[in-house]
Symmetry: C2
Subunit: 752 residues, 2 copies
């Protein structure tokens, strides 16, 4: 390449690296969106020139939809794969199928040709004691099964933690706090990469199968976002633009929740309400499409073997009574208290993990927690089964044919008419189940605190729902028995006569689950819609809403942050919460740097600094950008130049451009004055100068500044007074200021 | 009041009128939100002082929820009232109930004790010919009924137009374009007032009953917003703040759609997607609450007499086949074409109404359109019935007991198994119905163009859905017969064998309705969710989505604007569309005023202008605000002062403050210099100066400027170059610029 063409390139094409970001840095939304619009404008204007360009323009317009289709297909397939594998491996802890070791318990018994009494006790399925001892009875068989259960659990969880530690450290946790931060415009390279995807998918199956108190729903969102990010590489439009890529990731998050619960509308609302930062309406429609494709892909794979899209399909027959709102609100209060308690304890524990030696032994930690979980879980039927099975059973309304202990009521067949079962007296099975459930509740409450945050993939939705569902079912059965034995009480009169079916304990479990999930995550509309999609009836929206509302109010009264925001703060990510109003009366001048006694702001002048001067400034300061002014005396602002762009351009000029030496003057002006022939050639850098930096006056209230940062997605903003440049406010300054006003440590904000 | 206290007031309390807006002006979102935060801050800080203040603070926090509850109750009740009245008055056109004239046809026959063969032909219900002639047979009876039908229709519609014209001119139309504009921050006094509410409620019933081709769904949104606006007056928080009030109106719009269709989630999404401008997440949750309360209030009133929440309850039994996507997409194309055609024709007609003499005779216009509609409608069974009944019948899947003409198939009872009806050959009734429906389609298509925009309340949802449902049913029956007679064709092989029920014509009608509604309004997610809530099954989301997507693409390819945006533009409202990307490469300097050859920008200096100078500026210019600068020479910006505030303050000072004369100097500075005793006393106006005006540089791309205007809700923005004030850009300038670039008349933007 000749010098001339290099110079031409230098003038027209941006240098490689100019306009990109470093790891753990915040993107500039305004610049990214401008770049995308430029690209779009160019394609549109070219499309009139040739047929090929027209095809390119059309395919560019439809690439977003194609991408959504691919994300939906991939996320749905992976979710199906995870469901099937986790199901099989969970059953592996109990025994193995002789007809083929790759069948899970249920499939094994479906394949069976022999007749057997109990639905899930077919001769082909052998528990470990049956396989090894030849029989399944007696204390020794019990101990052997117990031992195998614990061994498998430890094996799975250790494999998971070793894989995470060895190959993809980002694969641990739920991933939602980090995804929230990434969507708000932060860069964490590799967090959504292919290794994370592969390892997270495998270890998620292992972690769920190990019987730890965790769920797969949160990690599925991470998996879906990895799919989205990887598939973005197929399309230049999304690969090269950080803002456009985040639109895709928002949609991918929706697809993730959609497959996690089988709730496409709930998924989109979850992405809108909980995860996303910048969510234009175009994204809403595309997210919905992705969520729907993902849900239908999953349904075609049919991992639950029942053609149902949703995880916990329930169908209740009875309407609820207005008076039942009282227990529902009680459940809401319980959910709120549990949420606040969980967040505080979990954050305290995670902080201890970060600051003490504990954090250095993740494998040991996983080993200990798994061992305790497995040892405590096996003796209790309700903790031995997988948590999603447990929730499913708790949500279930007892039919006449249900054989589970929870449905062991004293049947009075005289009063039964058709399908409608009246409230009945609880039999001994129900009372046993109550005790076991109460113990399971206590165990879940405490073990989950230590589980969430370990170095394995771990979601919170399922454990939270389990806690709420147990509490709800307990309350529901209590109410039912109260109504059965005391239907003459005033509160029951009029709606709950003898022999009527007035209380549905399964509904209480569902309401409790919603309340606890709401208390932990502080979701609102998306929570209600997800629960509504699970049941498919508009009837129960009011109880769900009452519980979710109470739970949020109670939890908010104790601590404002949801679990994801708390983890974001714990990790020091620069996340500017869009939900919280900034309510203090500070001004931009209180936040900007330089502070009162600091040295003055480092600025670059537009036409009087040499290459050496600029290099000195770069070396002596660490700011990510510098304002360019007309002159030091006037302090009138011309533009803003980014450190990274400046370094790359100066280095490149030194190498490739003739006559650039330390004494060359750098010009940011449009026209440079004619130079005397003796002086070194000048360096023109107007192309890297941002001529439209955002400015506010020093008297601007910080609430408005925060609003501007949020809504426009700024990295920094310059402060002026009567037209003169005074200082600068960066996103980090804003976050530190907010932390300070909330009596938190401002140094907890780690990144720019 | 002494002079001193007046002066104290003057310094501390804002003058009455300062900070309010004139009619047909745009509000300043930033200022309104700041004011609300100030108010909130004050209440919070006071709450620590006394118990009373604490109660005040808590009640303030919950007033939003209380307001939502009230809106839900009121909107639900009004919707119930409208439904019941419209039902009764629609039947009044046909006859009257002898058991009591206040019963509608259906209720009349329910009350009947005598036995009668046909469900809706009870002896108590008398058609007009039966009442007057004593019998209902023969040509003369038919003509009498025809005559009465037309007379009642004319009576109702004339009453409606006279009421609208006489008492509340804003009660006409659907109201959604205006509500969109109001929500974006425009002020139209009285548009949501109590007179509009009363008259719109009454005239809506009249207009719907008159049989005109219009629906009540859009106007119900207007009615709900009126409720919201009126109830706002109960709470200071919302009464005094234009931004907060708009949050409430967004929620009220959701409640409106919720009762219109019985779809609370769809209502919230409609408000989010279609109507609202500023929609924080807090509003999402509250809107959902309001929508739910409204839906349940309506259900308790039970206007349809079937305990169903939704307008068109359908339950289909058969899944759809993937190949059926082809006809569904065809329906999507039809919907898109109809939408684009309707928008063009309707806008052309409305423009003619605005510009020619036609607009001067609204009563005559309504008379003529009603007469034509009624005369054409009566002979055809499908146009004689109310449009919502028609849609309901078209959506319906023919059961074995259905007696309507549309279900007159040739029954072969040998092949029937239980509830499942196979595809059957169409009987003569079906063929007659097809012809009548085709005629009804043609009539609806044309008459709706002339109906929407007349001086009566008129919604578009129902007529659009009717057009789509007719087209869909026609296609569905055609497909069904094709499958019946040619089940050996390759395309049917494998999924549609003889005697199978493979085509559900009702589903086609539903898909067609969604496609046409989508083509006209360009709704996306909310459309699919509303249709999904109507049917209650996730099964049919994919067909609905395919049709809605195709319809939107086809319609967008012909014309970008939906009907509401087109009407906003027709009326010249200043609405900055948030969905459309601004894609031109202009800069702020191209849009700002003064233009190149204009006189310089009118500015006020901070400490050198007299009262007289300022009054001269006010009288000589009509700008709504003036920048304040340090001095004319430096042009360094200090702040911005609004014309209205300036006029009020100067007038007030002249009247009430001692020593203010024409030569008094106005100071906008913080500290004013000591004056020589002889000079007139000065006027300090710093309190009305906005010290944080938004500024951009002249090199800022307009796409960023548009983004700032949209996201922050600005009225104006100042333009600087190297720290010096250059010009100003107002919202009107931005809108004019956008119109110009889209080759539209920039002078069509009428308001600020």
């Amino acid at each position: 390449m000749t010098l001339q063409s290099t110079m031409m390139d230098f003038l027209e094409e941006p240098l490689p690296g100019v306009g990109t970001y470093e790891d753990f840095n915040t993107i500039d939304w305004v610049r990214e969106k401008s770049r995308d619009r430029d690209r779009h404008r160019e394609i549109t204007s070219r499309s009139k020139e040739s047929t090929w360009a027209l095809i390119h323009s059309v395919s560019d317009a439809f690439s977003g939809w194609l991408l959504m289709l691919l994300i939906g297909l991939l996320a749905g397939s992976l979710a199906g794969l995870i469901d099937i594998s986790a199901h099989w491996m969970t059953d592996l802890k109990e025994g193995v199928c002789l007809a083929g070791f790759w069948f899970n318990h249920e499939h094994c018994c479906w394949k069976s040709n022999t007749t057997f009494t109990d639905r899930d006790k077919c001769p082909e399925w052998k528990s470990w004691s049956q396989l090894i001892l030849g029989h399944g009875e007696g204390a020794f068989a019990y101990i052997l099964n117990y031992f195998m259960y614990v061994v498998w659990a430890l094996l799975f969880s250790l494999l998971a933690v070793l894989l995470v530690k060895g190959f993809a450290p980002y694969a641990c946790g739920s991933g939602i706090p980090e995804i929230k931060t990434i969507l708000s415009g932060f860069i964490i390279r590799g967090y959504l990469g292919k290794w994370t995807l592969i390892i997270k998918t495998i270890t998620l199956v292992l972690a769920v199968s190990s019987g730890l108190s965790l769920g797969k729903e949160g990690p599925l969102v991470h998996v879906a976002c990895c799919c989205g990010n990887i598939l973005c590489h197929l399309f230049t439009k999304y690969r090269k633009n950080e803002a456009k890529r985040r639109e895709v990731l928002s949609a991918a998050a929706a697809a993730g929740v959609s497959v996690a619960f089988g709730a496409p509308i709930g998924g989109v609302l979850f992405s809108l309400e909980e995860v996303s930062y910048y969510f234009p309406l175009k994204t809403l429609w595309r997210s919905f499409f992705a969520a729907l494709v993902a849900a239908f892909t999953l349904r075609s794979i049919n991992p639950f073997g029942n053609s149902r899209l949703v995880l916990f399909y329930v169908e209740f027959h009875m309407p609820w009574h207005l008076l039942e709102l009282v227990p529902f609100i009680l459940l809401g209060i319980f959910g709120g208290l549990w949420g606040a308690f969980f967040i505080r304890s979990n954050i305290a524990w995670c902080r201890r993990r970060k600051t003490t030696k504990l954090g250095k032994y993740p494998v040991l930690e996983v080993f200990v927690v798994t061992a305790i979980t497995a040892i405590l879980a096996f003796p209790n039927e309700y903790t031995r089964m997988s948590t999603s099975e447990l929730i499913s059973e708790l949500f279930n309304d007892c039919g006449i044919l249900d054989s589970s202990k929870l449905c062991e009521y004293v049947n009075d067949f005289n009063s039964t008419k058709g399908d409608d079962l009246p409230d009945r007296a609880a039999g001994p099975g129900v009372y046993t189940a109550m005790w076991q459930l109460a113990l399971a509740l206590i165990m879940k409450v405490f073990i989950t605190i230590f589980t969430f945050g370990m170095k394995v993939p771990s979601g919170l939705f399922i454990p939270s729902m389990a806690v709420g569902a147990i509490a709800g079912r307990l309350l529901g059965v209590a109410m039912e028995q109260l109504a059965y034995y005391h239907h003459d009480w005033a509160i029951f009169s009029g709606w709950c006569s003898q022999g009527a079916d007035c209380i549905t304990p399964g509904l209480y479990a569902m309401v409790g689950a919603a309340a606890c999930l709401g208390g932990v995550t502080r979701m609102t509309v998306s929570l209600v819609v997800i629960m509504f999609e699970l049941t498919g009836g508009l009837e129960y929206i009011v109880p769900l809403m009452a519980a979710a509302m109470t739970s949020k109010w109670v939890a908010d009264a104790i601590g404002r942050e949801g679990i994801y925001d708390a983890h974001i703060r714990l990790n020091g990510y620069p996340f500017l919460e869009a939900k919280e109003e900034f309510s203090h009366k500070t001004l931009a001048m209180d936040v900007m740097r330089p502070r009162r006694n600091d040295p003055p702001l480092t600025v670059i002048t537009q036409d009087s600094m040499t290459v050496e001067d600029v290099e000195t400034i770069i070396n002596e300061t660490t700011y990510s950008g510098y304002p360019v002014v007309v002159s030091r005396e006037s302090q009138r602002l011309v533009g803003f130049v980014l450190r990274r762009d400046l370094i790359i351009s100066v280095e490149n000029a030194r190498k490739k451009q003739d006559g650039i030496v330390s004494t060359s003057i750098i010009y940011f002006t449009d026209h440079s004055p004619p130079l005397p022939p003796s002086s070194p050639s000048m360096l023109k850098l107007r192309s890297i100068l941002d001529l439209s930096p955002f400015t506010v006056t020093d008297q601007t209230p910080m609430e408005i500044v925060v609003d501007i940062f949020r809504k426009l997605g700024l990295r920094q903003c310059l402060v002026t007074h009567n037209g003169k440049l005074l200082g600068i406010i960066t996103k980090k300054d804003v976050l530190k200021h907010i932390a300070q006003l909330a009596n938190q440590d401002p140094d907890s904000i780690l990144f720019n």
